[in-house]
Symmetry: C2
Subunit: 391 residues, 2 copies
């Protein structure tokens, strides 16, 4: 699972300066030479971007292109927001000579502002003409305050064929001054049953993007999209055999890697904390406790300060109301046993563990077999700066 | 409703340096010359301080004294924590010559550490002997990182008698490095039916301490206690007439005032934002939306930065899943109409409003008659500093 951007067979992409964020690459396009099966997952926020409202109507079509922009979320823009993106899509479809309803959209940026339609209509043919199989600019086109681009690729052998799985994402950065917007695009040339594509993506999503938090806020634009164009020519993956397992692992690794990148590149973040509950009676309790700890401002500040009083964690568990005996649980931090049977164990070893960039906080409920984890960032001065000073 | 600490007839109090926090007043006592009816409300956190575990057994007795300390929460301290406080209580009861089970307790401070029993047993007679009807130190004894003491008193006329209602509180400050702990003690000399005392307090609580948030974290020590010793000699308040109305207003004003003080004195806070939802179809939806906005790190940072993009608020409402048409709601900030029928209205007037210390964020759901509000602090550099740098 390499950190490079490799396009699978039959895919091209491009990123250009579209004058939405003057002087920056802000407009991107993914194109497949042949029609793709597509499966997508969108934000659960009731405030959905106009892009998503249109995507939801088109996502079951055969897909040829995905147009994306940063700098403007096209959310809370009403019918005009939808009309605008339809207009831009028409130009894209015409230039690429593909059906209008084979074009999808994604956006990230400020909420409540209409797109600069004239500029974007003019730019649409430009980004179409910039498409290349060796493009390196698309990952930049969707970045906002991301400090680095987020990509993962792997190449699998299936019989005598080569299958490529490649994913690119952005987040959980802010666009000034608005919401973190998670966008992920997975491209593959694999020949795979559409239901299995969805199943692999859904499972990978559950263990990656559904388990990260920077600030507990949900965007109107969150989108994870998977495109499969079948150009690899492998024997179709239609059963859950060896090939499916290898494919699923590639998707999972890509999603997890990008998810971890998003947390470590979260606003102002200095650390990624994996908050894991094990041996819980129910999955729901494990999830509730892990999420409460991961979103606790107190716990997040404590990780930043590298001075973690266990009381904050115990209290966070207590306030969820989950049915666990706090006097029998154990807590390990990076392998250091910090709580055992109702007793805190402090020492210099804990201080050392807290200096790490990636910290594993493992809480054993000692009552069942269920578990859950959340990847969380810490809460820092820079977080406040990024979100207070922007205007 | 004055900001001074006046003890009702028959009450005394004291605050001394008890060497839990060397050099600071950390040990306090409230005493009533005659037995009190008491009604109390405790944290819903499953992690409850040993103080509270003992209080819950005694609270229905006639109460004579409440012993409180800061610097140590006596939470996550197991049976030893309870045994310790029983031991201290014995000395208090003996010194004051009152029944052991007429003494209640409250504490705030670090979690998971046993009380310094020897020191506290020695100090117990000292604080008993410091009791005075003109005491000014008790409000300080329960302070932690509070920057100012929180008190409210009012004097009511009932027939030819004078009734005093006096409340003292602490929070939502931190004790290094632990949780905000809200403690509130209401004292009155009113002759009042115990059920009506509870009813008045419960309603006041619902509109004050149940509606504030600094960081969304719940303490193991939260306690609101009301003591009525009946020394005023007024005609017993046993019906919901004029006297009850006046009494309830005094309690409500005291609780609201102290609650507002707690938010404005919240860690690092520079502003108090009243987030109010009106004309909601259900009370639950109004509460859910108000709380989500009030706890959103993004919204809190935006208030600190005095640069509020409405998208953050709309998105916070959207992510609660409450059934509201975002295109028909209106949002006023300090009287400035910022959102109307799906359109954002920006301008310099909004910037001015955001400079205020107290800001009213009013969101009209335009679908029903229910409402709810939450008082919230902003999220600032100082919040992160206080909670990261302490050790």
């Amino acid at each position: 699972m390499e950190k490079k951007y490799v396009l699978p067979k039959g895919f091209k992409s491009a990123g250009i300066q579209g004058q939405i964020k003057p002087g920056k690459i802000d407009t991107g396009l993914i194109f497949s030479e042949t029609p793709c099966d597509c499966t997508a997952f969108f934000t659960k926020n009731k405030l959905k971007s106009a892009h998503i409202l249109l995507d939801q109507k088109r996502v079951n079509n055969k897909i040829r292109a995905v147009y994306a922009n940063s700098g403007n979320a096209n959310a809370f823009t009403g019918q005009q927001g939808v009309d605008n993106i339809i207009e831009i899509g028409k130009v894209v479809a015409k230039t690429l000579n593909v059906p209008e309803n084979s074009v999808l959209f994604a956006a990230t940026g400020i909420i409540g502002k209409q797109l600069p339609l004239d500029i974007m209509v003019k730019n649409a043919p430009v980004v179409c003409n910039a498409l290349s199989a060796k493009d390196d600019n698309y990952p930049k086109a969707i970045m906002t305050t991301d400090k680095f681009r987020k990509v993962r690729s792997s190449v699998l052998k299936m019989g005598n064929k080569t299958v490529t799985v490649s994913a690119v994402g952005k987040g959980a950065g802010m666009i000034s001054p608005d919401m973190a917007t998670l966008l992920v695009f997975l491209m593959t040339d694999a020949v795979i049953d559409k239901k299995l594509l969805r199943e692999a993506a859904k499972e990978a999503l559950e263990y990656s993007f559904n388990r990260i938090t920077v600030d507990g806020d949900m965007s109107p634009n969150d989108t994870v999209m998977c495109l499969a164009n079948g150009q690899a020519g492998n024997k179709k993956i239609s059963l859950k055999g060896k090939d499916y397992t290898a494919f699923k692992k590639a998707v999972s690794d890509a999603f997890y890697g990008i998810a971890e990148d998003m947390v470590s590149d979260g606003e102002g973040a200095t650390k990624v904390v994996k908050v894991e509950i094990i041996n819980s009676k129910t999955k729901a309790a494990a999830k509730k406790a892990a999420l409460r700890i991961a979103n606790s401002q107190l716990v997040k500040c404590a990780f930043f300060g590298e001075s973690l009083n266990m009381g904050r964690i115990l209290s966070a568990i207590g306030q969820t109301g989950v049915n666990v005996d706090l006097n029998s649980i154990s807590i390990d931090i990076g392998g250091y046993r910090a709580v055992e049977k109702g007793k805190l164990i402090t020492g210099d070893a804990l201080k050392k563990v807290l200096k790490q960039d990636k910290i594993h906080l493992l809480i054993d409920f000692k009552q069942g077999k269920e578990k859950h984890y959340i990847l969380a960032s810490d809460l820092t001065y820079d977080y406040v700066r990024e979100n207070a000073d922007y205007s």
